[in-house]
Every structure is written in C-alpha cells, then in structure tokens.
Symmetry: C2
C-alpha cells in the first residue's frame, strides 16, 4: 500500500466457497440481504481460484474492467456498487485519521482484470470468488482495512463468505441498512485436515435459471421457503457449527444433505417450479445413500447449488473408494478430457459386495470429470510482479 | 340383493381418481387416517376402471380372491380389514332392525375376482379403484347401505375418493377412531362438462418407492410436510372447492400445479429424498408453462402422483392443440403401441409462433402413450350376468 505513488498495482486471489447451510432468498434486493444466515466451506485455491489485478493511476481517465480477457461494461450496477462502497470505506477511514489526509489516490480511476483458473463449463458459481477477489484487491489499492463483507456482498451475496478461509458463516443480520449482515470465520483452514471435497461435474446441456432470478421467484411464490428460513435454518446453523467444531462427520454430512434437499424442495415449491437437479444428480444422490447404507454410517455427503453438479464431502480415508464408485457408476466416455483433476487419488478396488449394494446400471458419460480438492485459505496477495494481469500501462498483458 | 339365496353373485365397476389436492402422510397407519384433507377428480370408466365380482355361497369353505387372474393371499391385512369392516357394518345394520333378523348370508364365505382394464405399466394407482370396487361390491352382496368410506379407506386411503363420481373430497376428520374421515362429493360428474384429462404415460425403467413407504419416511423426516399439511392445505381445500364450483379453470389449473409441486417438494425434503419426477416429467412441466405463457393464461395444468407420469387437465377446446404439442415435443418411437388411447382427438396444426414459444428439442420416445379421458361417474352395478368374472361355482371363468 503506497497510496501516493503515481501508479499502484496489486494482484490477489480469492477462493470458491460451497454452502452447507444454503442461502436462497433476499430480504433486500438492492443491499443483497438474505432471509437466513448461511454457512460454507472455503475450497482450496490450488484447484479453484479467481485472480484479480487492480491498477490505480492518476493518468487513467476512466474505470475499466476485463473478465477472463474480455472487456466488460464497468457500469454494471453490481460492479459500480462495489467500487462506490470501497471508495466510501477508504474515505471514511482516512477522514477518521487527522494525521493522514485524504490521499490523491482516492480520486484515481482504476483498471481491473480478473480471471478464473476453472472452466465456467464446470458450472461452479464463479461470482462468489470473483466479487470476493474484487473487494479484497480494491481494498489493497485504496488502503481499506475494515470488514469487506458489504463490499463483496453488494457484488454477490455469497461472495462475502469467500473473504475467509476454512469454515465461514454469513450472519443474516437484522438491521435494515445491512451493517450487521457480515461474514465471519467459524473454524480455520486447518481445523479439520481430513475433510475432502469432490466436485462431480455433470453433463448437461440444459440452460438454467440464474440464482438471482430463481431466488426472486421463490421469494414471491414459495410458502415453504419462508417457513424454512424462519423456523428451520436457525437451528440448522447452530447444529452445523457444533458438528464442524466437533469434527463430527456423521452430523455434518447428514445435515449437509438435508439442507441441500430442503433448499431444492423450496425451488420445486416455486411457481413455475425450478429444478436444478437432473436425473444424473438424482443418481448421484442415490449412489451416496446406498454407499452410506452399505457401511451403516454417513461416510459421504452431497450438496447441490443452482445446477446439476454435485459437491461431495468425505474424509481422506474414503476418497479413493468413493471415486472408484463414481467411475464404476459413470464410466468415462472418452471426451479427450482428463477425468480426475486436482488432488491425486490412488486407484482403489471395489468389492463385489459393495458393487451389489450399489445395484445401479452404469450411466456412461453422465459425469464429465471430477475435481478433488480440500478446505483452503482465504484471499491472498501475490507479491510476484509476474502475476499481474495488467501492465504498468493498465492494459491486459498479452497472454503468451 | 337377495341375501337368503344359496348363491349370490354381484359384479361392479369403480373408477380411478386423480388428486388435485394431494394426500401424503398418515396420522394413523392402521386406520389409514390422513394428516390433511384431499380433493380429487373421478376419471371416466370408459377409459379406466376396475371390475370386481363377488360371490357368496353357503358351500364355500373359505374366502378366496383373484386379482387380474392370479390367485392372491386373502389373508393380506388390508383385504382382511375390508372384509372385517363390511361384515361388521352388515351385522350392525341388521341388528338395528328387528323385523330383519341376521341372515345366514353373513356367515357365508366370499369369492372375489378383480381385473383392471388398464395396464399396470401405465403406472396409475390401481389400488384406489381396486379397493373402492371391493368395498362397493361387498356392500351389495352383504346388503350394506351405509357410508363405505371406512371400508374402502382401510384398503387404500385414496380409495374412499373413488366411491363417488365427479369431484370428491376426503375430509381428514378429527376423531381418533376415524369415523369422521370420510369422502363426499363436492360436485357431480356433469358439473363441468368441458373439463378433459390427458394421462401422459412416461417411459421409465426406474423402480419407485411405494407411496405407503414413501409417506411413512416423509412423515418421519420432512418438517416441510407437517407445515404444509397444517398451515397450507386447509386454505387450498377451500380455494379448490371454490374454483370447481365456479368452473374457474385459471384458478383450478394453477392451484392443481402448485399442489403437485408442493407435494413433490415434501418428497424431496424427505430423508433420504424421494424423487418421483424424472427429466421427462420436468420437460412436460416446462412444456405446460411455456404453452400457458404463450397464451397468457392457464389453459393446461399438470399433476403428478407417486411416479413420473403426468396427468394433464385442460378444456375440450384445447385438447387437440396440446396433444399436437406433446406429439411434437415427444415424437413417437414406433413401439408397436397405439400412441393415442381413449377419447378421439382430432389432429391439429401447430403455428410456428407456438413452436418457437415452446423452444424445446424433441425427446423421441419420452412418452409411451396418451390416454384421453374426462370426468366420470362413481361405482356401477353390472346387471348383465355375462359380466361376472366368477362362475356359479365361484371360480374364475376361463377367459376365452
């Protein structure tokens, strides 16, 4: 942070997060305030991350932004909300400190470039990582040190949960202005080292309703959604926090599955109904339950967001066998794609007893690939200048 | 009814009913008492019916029963409950009347044969028609004239709704003994002559969870189910009754779809989750909503029970076009099967504008066939002796 330099360049990365207590429905569309608290697991950036570079310079004449190499309209309301909010916080902080007068840098225009290291085809909500990275990077260039929940949240609600590593809750808050609707860490990155995450990327051509539109329709039409948010989620939050602190996979896994099912139930109760799960998703659900029934305990758990992809939670000692189960049930159709990405997973044999217990006809090509990952840290600052996505001229570097 | 003849033979038919306010969950498993009232439309027996013959004779040494030509165990608890209940009613009625002493016939054993005129492949709940027909036929041979709701209900809850034609409600009742959990007609068969019903039989190999087991699991695990039954269904019952009395298809259709979606939402909220809908079901749902959106009004409505088949409600002036829409979206794979069964439906052209509005890639073979039918009457007594399924010897007639 050197706010009076003519040019300041900062590059940061931020993680994807997967909710185990689901956020579905806003009580304030503009401020992006949720109707219930939610809780998520931050995924490791070795597998999934957004990288963002922000440059401020007195020579820039306008704010500009590039996403995955494409120039996009910086005038988008949510991007504008983030920029407005971070500059407000910067101004506030400085004016609170007499010895440090308002720096010129606050009037500087900013150039921003952001890229994801994972294919959008993966259907993973990239907006959370994207807006968390935007908020975090802007905070560095403008020298903001206060809580960034609101900055990230104004871009995408669940983005505030990507501001921390480990296990993170987004407290819904009660205030109309949303000042108390903030994210905080429930447990750090290394709290539960055995926990593993498998992302099963499902083949699907169907174009889906965006979660923003879906939530609005659910809020307007689903009586089950309101009941869930008010009567059921508060207890779920307390239970889930307890299971995480105790590293109780039985409780964690079962509540994670029930939460996912209940959230998708409110989507089905929406009018017209919303179905993010498809037949492959349902086969994965069946597979998980049969696998757990075979062992007489919850060794694997699924959760689904606004799409058919499954996110599987399990412990390190179960990863290899469950991956073998998935490959047995969804044999790879050679699509030139690497089926297993991320953390290395050793091959494991499947007992005939287990195969019989699964009793499913294989569905070739039902799953495109698997990403194996784990719990990870929050946003990072990259010191290596080579990491910058923008040159000193504030323009995207030619990607060789 | 000639209870002192050495042999009495009676043959009756009973209809299938389709719930528009759903029954899901029992408050008493043994008496089969529901957690909420439900409301159904009785389908016409020209297309779908059960036929049952009952013979009583002093010469029979034991009760016997044949279903669709197969001898089955008469000791089944639900069959026994029906027999016990009908004989209790017969005894009660006679003992209440001095001039008519207990007839011998009450001690006679009964032979019963029952057949459906529709393939079980159709996945239509045949138990409702079956137990309604059993209750109604036994009432004839034993001379019972009182309300048969309990007799039918003890066989299969929704069977009590098949005891009447037209539009029928099953009042949940409040008494622990279930005496006030009875069916009654809301509107007669000819009340809404324009109403039509299309059953879209979906291709599906998946074996499904029986509704009995499904309901039990939902009762044990779904908080949304209890909320729906207590807080939402009572209002739905009143609204639906109003829409039917007013012949308001907009209201009737929309509430029918919302009820179906909400019932299946509680199945998804069950743990492990239950999914009766598959991708074809969901495409039908999408098709219906796009069709209605195109016309800016609810011209067609869907409802689903414990399987992927869709039951479509519409009015006579829309049948031809919507059937054309279905055949356009699910082109027939020649399976040697007649695609369109039941009421005649004339071919109708589809405007390019409508085809564009549907904007769906065809799914060949997704639907096996369509049964076109309408609202129908309640159980009937067949006077023609040739209709009897059992001979005077009380054994199934050789089916030529």
């Amino acid at each position: 942070m050197a706010s009076e330099k003519p040019v300041v360049t900062v590059t940061c990365t931020a993680p994807v997060n997967i909710a185990v207590i689901k956020y579905w429905g806003k009580r304030d569309e503009d401020l992006i305030l949720p109707i219930n608290s939610s809780l998520s697991v931050t995924l490791h950036q070795d597998q999934l991350k957004t990288t963002t570079t922000a440059v401020i310079s007195k020579d820039f004449t306008e704010d500009q932004i590039w996403l995955n190499g494409q120039k996009v309209d910086v005038g988008q309301p949510r991007i504008q909300a983030c920029l407005r909010e971070i500059r407000r916080l910067a101004r506030k902080r400085r004016s609170a400190d007499d010895k440090d007068p308002l720096p010129l840098s606050l009037s500087y225009k900013v150039h921003i470039a952001s890229v994801n290291n994972f294919p959008t085809a993966a259907g993973l909500a990239s907006s959370a990582a994207g807006y968390a990275c935007l908020a975090f990077t802007l905070a560095q260039v403008y020298g903001v040190e206060s809580d960034l929940s609101e900055v990230a949240r104004r871009g995408s609600g669940s983005a505030c949960r990507s501001l921390y590593g480990g296990f993170v809750e987004w407290q819904m808050g009660e205030r109309a202005d949303g000042k108390d609707s903030i994210a905080r860490q429930v447990a750090p990155e290394l709290h539960w080292p055995e926990l593993r995450v498998l992302i099963l990327v499902v083949n699907s051509e169907k174009k889906l309703i965006s979660s923003t539109v879906g939530m609005q329709t659910s809020m307007e039409t689903s009586p089950l959604l309101k009941f869930r948010a008010e009567a059921l989620v508060p207890a779920h939050m307390a239970e889930m926090t307890h299971y995480i602190k105790e590293r109780d996979f039985q409780g964690f896994g079962q509540l994670t599955m029930k939460e996912s099912n209940q959230c998708h139930a409110t989507c089905l109760d929406t009018f017209p109904p919303i179905s993010y799960l498809n037949d492959i998703s349902r086969r994965i659900i069946q597979l998980v339950h049969r696998f757990n029934t075979h062992y007489g305990e919850t060794k694997v758990a699924y959760t689904f967001d606004a799409g058919p992809n499954a996110v599987i939670f399990t412990l390190d000692d179960t990863v290899a066998e469950f991956v073998a189960v998935v490959m047995h049930s969804f044999p790879l159709e050679s699509n030139g794609d690497k089926f297993l990405k991320g953390l290395p997973v050793r091959p494991a044999p499947l007992s005939d007893k287990l195969k019989a217990a699964l009793s499913m006809d294989p569905t070739p090509g039902g799953i495109k690939y698997i990403i194996a990952t784990q719990v990870g840290p929050g946003p990072q600052i990259l010191d290596d200048p080579h990491a910058h996505l923008l040159g000193p001229d504030g323009l995207p570097k030619p990607t060789a």
